[in-house]
C-alpha cells in the first residue's frame, strides 16, 4: 500500500506538471503569418529548377524555409531577427552554375541561424539472411546507390497549395526500377501548433516545418531488398555529434513507438542552448494510410563529418564553403519485418525547425480519464486511511479497566 501511495503521488505530480505546461506552453502557442511563393524573382519561364520559398513572419523575426530541387532535394531554414527580411536570388548567376553567393537573405546582418537538410542517396541492399543489419553485410550485398542529385525532380502541380502551405516534389531517374515509381518529398509549413493527422502524427509548432518522404512503386532489385536513406545536414551553428533518442511513455499518437530521435544544433560556446533541430520518430510505414501492423522501426547511424558541402545547388548558393557538413543514414526495417516488395511503399516523416524541438504530452482524453478514474479512489483511500487512523487512536485501550 505504501508503494502504491508513493507511486500515485509521483504520478499525480507528473499529471499536474503536464497540465500546467499544457496550459502555459507559450513557445508552442506562438503564431506566425505564413506566405508561400514559387521561384521568387524569376522573370523567365521555369527552367525545371524550382525553389519554394515560405516566409513565416512572427512579431519581430522571420523564418524563411526554402524547399528546393536543384540536384539533390533540400530543405533550408534561415532565421532573421527582422520581420522585413526577404530572399534575393541572382537567377542568371545560378543558372550559369555560379552557385556561390547567388542566394541571399537580405538584410544579411539580420541572419541569426541557418541550416539545411539534404537528401543525397538512396541505398538498396539484398538482405539475404533477414538481419536488417547493413553495417555487417559485405559490399556485394549492396546494389549501386541511387544518387538523388542525378534524379529529375518536379513539383506536382496539384500539390502546390498556397492556402495550406504545402508542396510535393517527386523525382525519378531513368532506370527500370523507377519506371512507374517515384521518390517524393512533401513539405508543409505551419502557422501555429498542431499535429499531423496521419501517423507518425508529429507534433509541430509555428517554428517547424515537416517533410514527409516516401518511396512509391519502385521495383526492387531483389526479392529481399531493404532501403537506406542518406541525408546530409549543414548548419551555421555547431551540430551535435550524435542523435539524441528520448524515451517517452506516451505512444497515443504513434502507437507502439515510445522513442523520439532529435539532432540539434547549438552555438559553439553554449551547448545547452538549442538553435535548431531535426526531429523524427524512429518508425516508417509500409502503406499510404497506415494501420498498426504497417509500422516498421527505423534506425539511424551516428553523424559523420564530410569535407564538402552537400550536392545541392541551392545549398551551395546559400552556405559558404568551410562550414561543417554531417551525414547520417536512416536504415529502415528490422530483422523479421516484411521486405519492401510486400507493399512497394515506404514512408518516413521528419520535422525541421527553429529553437527547441516540440515535446509530446498526454491528450486531454487520457488526462480526464486518469484524473477521474485515479484521483477519486486515491482520495477515498487517503481520507479512509486518515479517518481509520484517527478512529483507531481514539479507541486506544486505556490499560486495565476496573472490574467493578
Amino acid at each position: 500500500m505504501d508503494i502504491g501511495l508513493v507511486q500515485s503521488s509521483t504520478f499525480i505530480l507528473c499529471l499536474l506538471i503536464h497540465c500546467t505546461s499544457g496550459l502555459t506552453g507559450d513557445e508552442d502557442d506562438y503564431r506566425r503569418k505564413v506566405s508561400m511563393e514559387l521561384n521568387p524573382g524569376q522573370s523567365e519561364p521555369s527552367s525545371g529548377v524550382d525553389v519554394v520559398h515560405v516566409r513565416a513572419v512572427g512579431s519581430d523575426d522571420t523564418l524563411h524555409f526554402l524547399f528546393c530541387n536543384h540536384r539533390a532535394p533540400a530543405l533550408m531554414l534561415v532565421h532573421t531577427n527582422s520581420s522585413f527580411s526577404n530572399v534575393h536570388i541572382n537567377w542568371t548567376a545560378f543558372l550559369n552554375g555560379n552557385y556561390s553567393g547567388s542566394l541571399k537573405v537580405v538584410p544579411e546582418s539580420s541572419v541569426q541561424f541557418s541550416s539545411a537538410l539534404v537528401f543525397t542517396r538512396l541505398w538498396e541492399y539484398d538482405d539475404v539472411n533477414d538481419t536488417a543489419d547493413p553495417e555487417h553485410l559485405p559490399p556485394s550485398s549492396f546494389f549501386p546507390s541511387y544518387e538523388l542529385q542525378d534524379f529529375s525532380w518536379n513539383i506536382r502541380n496539384a500539390t502546390y497549395n498556397l492556402t495550406t502551405h504545402t508542396a510535393t516534389l517527386c523525382g525519378r531517374n531513368s532506370s527500370n526500377s523507377f519506371m512507374n515509381g517515384f521518390l517524393c518529398l512533401a513539405f508543409s509549413a505551419f502557422e501555429s501548433r498542431g499535429r499531423d493527422s496521419e501517423w507518425p502524427g508529429l507534433l509541430h509548432n509555428a517554428n517547424s516545418s515537416q517533410l514527409h518522404v516516401w518511396l512509391d512503386n519502385v521495383i526492387p532489385r531483389s526479392n529481399q531488398s531493404r532501403f537506406i536513406l542518406e541525408v546530409q545536414s549543414v548548419s551555421s551553428a555547431e551540430q551535435k555529434g550524435q542523435v539524441d533518442v528520448l524515451k517517452s511513455i506516451d505512444d497515443e499518437y504513434t502507437p507502439s513507438i515510445f522513442k523520439v530521435s532529435q539532432w540539434v544544433s547549438s552555438p559553439s560556446n553554449a551547448s545547452s542552448e538549442i538553435l535548431g533541430y531535426t526531429q523524427w520518430k524512429p518508425v516508417a510505414y509500409r502503406t499510404e494510410h497506415p494501420k498498426f501492423e504497417d509500422a516498421t522501426p527505423c534506425r539511424h547511424s551516428d553523424p559523420v563529418l564530410v569535407s564538402e558541402l552537400p550536392p545541392s545547388g541551392w545549398v551551395q548558393a546559400l552556405f559558404r564553403d568551410g562550414l561543417q557538413t554531417s551525414t547520417l543514414n536512416i536504415t529502415f526495417s528490422i530483422a523479421g519485418d516484411p521486405f519492401y516488395n510486400t507493399t512497394n511503399y515506404l514512408s518516413w516523416s521528419v520535422l525541421v525547425g527553429l529553437g527547441n524541438p516540440p515535446q509530446d504530452s498526454f491528450s486531454p482524453l487520457v488526462l480526464t480519464i486518469m484524473a477521474v478514474g485515479l484521483g477519486t479512489p486515491l482520495a477515498l483511500i487517503l481520507f479512509g486511511g486518515v479517518g481509520a487512523g484517527i478512529f483507531k487512536r481514539n479507541q486506544h485501550p486505556q490499560g486495565y479497566e476496573p472490574i467493578n
Binding site: P255, S256, K291, E293, V366, G373, I381
Partner: protein, 435 residues
C-alpha cells in the same frame, strides 16, 4: 464441492454389500492397482492434473505467437484478439449447461472424454486454419476449443471431488491449478522456439509454418485426451471394484434463482469481470508491448509475459492458506485490486523494470482468485451456489470476449498507453465497488 465437506473419506468406507469375498479379493491387489490405496490415487491424481494441461497450453498459443500470427495471417490487433473472443463466446452459455451435461446427459466419464475431444479437435481445426491460410477456420477452431476448454475444467474438479475428500481436496485443487499454470508457462516459453525451428526447416515464415507449429501444440491436447480415456477407465474400474457411484458435479442450475441474488453478489460479479478483463487481454497483447517499450528481445518478452502464471503456480496454495486463516476476504480483494492497479500504472507511466510490475500482478492475481471465489459461498445459500458460480463464469467469459475485442481495437488506433489507461480505469471502477 461446497456441499460435500464430509469428514469421512467415501472411498475407504467399508461397503456393507461387499462382504468377505471381495474384501479378500481387494487384499490380493497390488497397491498401485487397488483403487482404495493412496498410491493408486496418486496415479489417478497425476492423470487428473495432466487432463487440463493441454487445454491451458493451447489457450494461450495466440499470445505466445502474437507477432507471427499477425504477420503470417496478415491481421490487425482486433482480428488477432478475435481468437480470444471466440474462445469465450461458447462459455457464456456453457457455464450453465456444463454441470447439467456432466450430471444428467453424459456422465462424468463420457463427458470428460467428449470435452477433451472437443479441445483436441478444436486445436486441430485451429491449426488447419493456419495451414490452409483461412482465418475464419482458425476462429471456428477456437470456438470448438472453447466449447471443450471450460467444461473440461468443471469435469476435472468433479473427478477431484470424487476421488479426494476433506483436507486433501484443497491440496488437489491447488495442484490442478498449478498444473494449469504450468501449462500456460511452458506454452509461453516454448512455442516461439518451436516456431523458429520450423521456420529454419521450412526456410521461410508463413501460414504453413504457423500451422505446423500449432499442430505440434495440438499433441498436448492429444495427451490430455489420452489422460481423459485413462481416467475414464480407472474410474469405471474403481466403481466396479469399490461399488461407488459415478461422481456428480453437485451443481444444480436453476435460472430462476438469479432474481434472488443479493446486491453483494452482483458486486462480486462485477469485480470479477472488471478484474479478469484487465489481466487476460493484457497478457494476450503483452509480448509486443514488452518488445517495443522496454526493448526486450522476443524470447525475453515471452518469458516476462508468463511471469503471472509462473508466480501463481506456487503462490496460490500459500495465499489460499493465508486467506483461510485470516478470513478477511474483502480486505484481500481490495489489496489485490490495488496491487494490480499499481502494476498497470508502473507499466504505463514508467520505464521501471517490468519484472517488478509483472511479479506484483502475478501475486495480486493469485490473491484475488483465493479471496474472491470463496466469497460467493458466504453470500449465497448452498442450494444456489451452482447457479451463482455458473453465472459468474458466464459473465466473466462474456466480459472477456467483449473486452478482448475492445482491447484489440484500442491498440490498433490509440496505442499502448491508452490501452493501459483503459485497464487502469477498469480496475479503478472496482475500487469504488469494493469500498
Amino acid at each position: 464441492m461446497a456441499g460435500m465437506g464430509e469428514e469421512e473419506d467415501l472411498i475407504t468406507e467399508e461397503d456393507p454389500l461387499t462382504g468377505q469375498g471381495d474384501g479378500s479379493a481387494r487384499a490380493r491387489r497390488s497397491p498401485c492397482s487397488d483403487p482404495a490405496h493412496w498410491l493408486h490415487r496418486i496415479v489417478v491424481l497425476v492423470f487428473m492434473c495432466f487432463l487440463g494441461f493441454g487445454s491451458y497450453f493451447c489457450y494461450d498459443n495466440p499470445a505466445a505467437l502474437q507477432t507471427q500470427v499477425i504477420q503470417d495471417m496478415k491481421l490487425n490487433t482486433s482480428g488477432f484478439m478475435q481468437l480470444y473472443a471466440w474462445y469465450s463466446w461458447p462459455n457464456v452459455v456453457l457455464c450453465f449447461l456444463g454441470g447439467f451435461l456432466l450430471d444428467r446427459v453424459f456422465g462424468i466419464r463420457l463427458g470428460t472424454i467428449i470435452f477433451a475431444s472437443f479441445v483436441f479437435v478444436g486445436q486441430i481445426i485451429f491449426a488447419s486454419g493456419a495451414l490452409f491460410n483461412r482465418f475464419w477456420l482458425m476462429e471456428a477452431g477456437r470456438f470448438v476449443f472453447g466449447i471443450g476448454g471450460e467444461s473440461l475444467a468443471v469435469a476435472q474438479n468433479t473427478y477431484a471431488v470424487n476421488w479426494f475428500k476433506g483436507k486433501e481436496l484443497n491440496l488437489v485443487f491447488g495442484l490442478q491449478l498449478s498444473m494449469a499454470r504450468l501449462g500456460s508457462t511452458v506454452n509461453m516459453n516454448i512455442m516461439g522456439w518451436v516456431y523458429d525451428r520450423i521456420k529454419d526447416l521450412m526456410g521461410s515464415a508463413g501460414p504453413t509454418t504457423l500451422g505446423i507449429a500449432l499442430m505440434i501444440g495440438a499433441t498436448t491436447c492429444l495427451f490430455s485426451l489420452a489422460c481423459a480415456l485413462v481416467l475414464g477407465f480407472l474410474d469405471r474400474r474403481a466403481e466396479r471394484i469399490l461399488k461407488k457411484e459415478q461422481g456428480k458435479t453437485g451443481e444444480v442450475i436453476k435460472l430462476t434463482d438469479v432474481k434472488d441474488f443479493p446486491l453483494q453478489l452482483w458486486l462480486i460479479f462485477i469485480i470479477c469481470v472488471c478484474y479478469y478483463v484487465a489481466i487476460f487481454p493484457f497478457i494476450g497483447l503483452g509480448q509486443v508491448f514488452f518488445i517495443e517499450k522496454f526493448d526486450f528481445s522476443p524470447a525475453e518478452a515471452r518469458a516476462i509475459n508468463s511471469v503471472v502464471y509462473i508466480i501463481s503456480a506456487p503462490a496460490s496454495p500459500v495465499l489460499g492458506f493465508m486467506v483461510d486463516r485470516t478470513g478477511k476476504n474483502v480486505l484481500w480483494v481490495a489489496c489485490a485490486i490495488l496491487a494490480t492497479l499499481a502494476a498497470h500504472m508502473m507499466l504505463a507511466f514508467t520505464f521501471w523494470n517490468p519484472w517488478i510490475a509483472m511479479s506484483l500482478m502475478g501475486l495480486a492475481y493469485s490473491l484475488l482468485a483465493c479471496a474472491l471465489w470463496p466469497m460467493v459461498s458466504f453470500v449465497v445459500p448452498e442450494h444456489q451456489l451452482g447457479t451463482a458460480y455458473g453465472f459468474m463464469q458466464s459473465i466473466q467469459n462474456l466480459g472477456l470476449a467483449l473486452i478482448a475485442m475492445a482491447a484489440g481495437a484500442i491498440l490498433d488506433n490509440r496505442g499502448y498507453l491508452f490501452l493501459e489507461v483503459f485497464f487502469c480505469a477498469c480496475i479503478c471502477s472496482e475500487c469504488y465497488l469494493s469500498s
